[in-house]
């Protein structure tokens, strides 16, 4: 087990213990909720894992990096930014996908912009946002988020 995984598991275990001593009933409920959402999530997790396997196992890294690697320039960068905007994937699964793209030669800035547009901007949820928050607000928020995502990704790429 990697140190990261050990840290995450110990952290959650600690939270669980604290919660258990504060309220047994609530903690049992939390475990029930967790188990249910794990079951619900599992099919999607497996779909993503299979797709990652196929992507990395079948597509040569040169092909992937041609589209979204360092040498793909602004075209590849914008392509993956837009992909993140329209895709509707649970954020939890964005990270294994991002890691697999990095493994196959994608540029760090592309991966960063993908995660940020994917989480911040929702084309699928846009109608609901317009209905509740108003068109002006929704369009400004999503539009400026796109620019912000690009800025964040460029800075991450420059720093790391």
């Amino acid at each position: 087990m990697s140190p990261t995984a050990i840290f995450i598991n110990s952290f959650v275990l600690l939270c669980l213990i604290v919660s258990f001593f504060k309220d047994k009933g609530k903690t049992k409920n939390a475990i029930k909720v967790a188990f249910k959402s794990l079951l619900k999530m599992l099919p999607v997790v497996l779909i993503i894992i299979i797709l990652i396997g196929l992507l990395l196992g079948l597509a040569p890294p040169e092909t992937i990096s041609k589209f979204i690697g360092e040498q793909s320039g602004w075209g590849g960068f914008l392509l993956i930014a837009i992909l993140g905007t329209v895709a509707h994937i649970p954020a939890l699964l964005a990270f294994p996908i991002a890691a697999s793209l990095l493994d196959s030669g994608a540029a760090l800035t592309s991966v960063a912009v993908f995660i940020t547009t994917l989480t911040m901007i929702g084309i699928v949820t846009l109608p609901l946002e317009i209905q509740l928050m108003g068109g002006k607000f929704a369009l400004l928020r999503n539009g400026i988020s796109f620019i912000v995502a690009i800025l964040i990704a460029l800075i991450i790429g420059a720093v790391i």
């Binding site: 995450i8 939390a30 794990l38 196992g57 989480t119 988020s145």
Partner: protein, 175 residues
């Protein structure tokens, strides 16, 4: 209303299973077509599966704990009309705490707006909800490393605050 949500969830679950069947089919067909890639594909899938399973139970447990300890009412109670830096900090913390997809956050954001919260706070709250959830950060830590996660977290906080202020100004100008 509750039944409708349950119905929708059940349908979504079925859709996911159908999706899984479909992807498995593609998987089998492709492996049949490229038998020489078999071990590479299986190796990659297994290693990602292992990495995911090492943390996924912990992540969903944390989400479960948040769900029972922090209700929507608590978020609404503390999230409010405080302006300035303090308001932004509260919005980030409350946005990052509870779990749930973005569409759950919009009704909350609307309630905040009606309560008189500033546009800056609402934008920061929604953005924090969307991209800096604590369980999410743990998965990012596992797959992309501490440096990437921390840097993206800090940049996101800075930029969504600026974005909130810009949107507040712009909506006033448009009006």
């Amino acid at each position: 209303m509750k039944n409708a949500i349950k119905d929708k969830q059940a349908k979504k679950g079925q859709k996911n299973l159908v999706g899984l069947g479909f992807v498995t089919l593609i998987f089998l067909v492709l492996l049949k077509m490229f038998p020489e890639k078999y071990s590479a594909v299986i190796d990659v899938s297994l290693s990602y599966f292992k990495e995911m399973m090492l943390i996924l139970p912990a992540v969903v447990l944390l989400m479960g704990l948040f769900m029972v300890w922090i209700s929507k009412d608590i978020v609404l109670k503390y999230m409010g009309t405080t302006s300035g830096l303090k308001g932004v900090v509260i919005s980030i913390i409350l946005g990052a705490l509870p779990t749930g997809p973005l569409y759950v956050a919009f009704p909350l954001a609307l309630a905040l707006k009606n309560k008189g919260a500033s546009i800056t706070n609402i934008v920061v709250f929604l953005s924090a909800w969307a991209c800096i959830k604590i369980p999410q950060e743990l998965v990012e830590f596992q797959f992309l490393g501490l440096k990437f996660m921390a840097l993206r977290l800090v940049l996101t906080i800075i930029f969504v605050t600026i974005m909130g202020m810009i949107i507040e100004k712009l909506t006033k100008i448009i009006e």
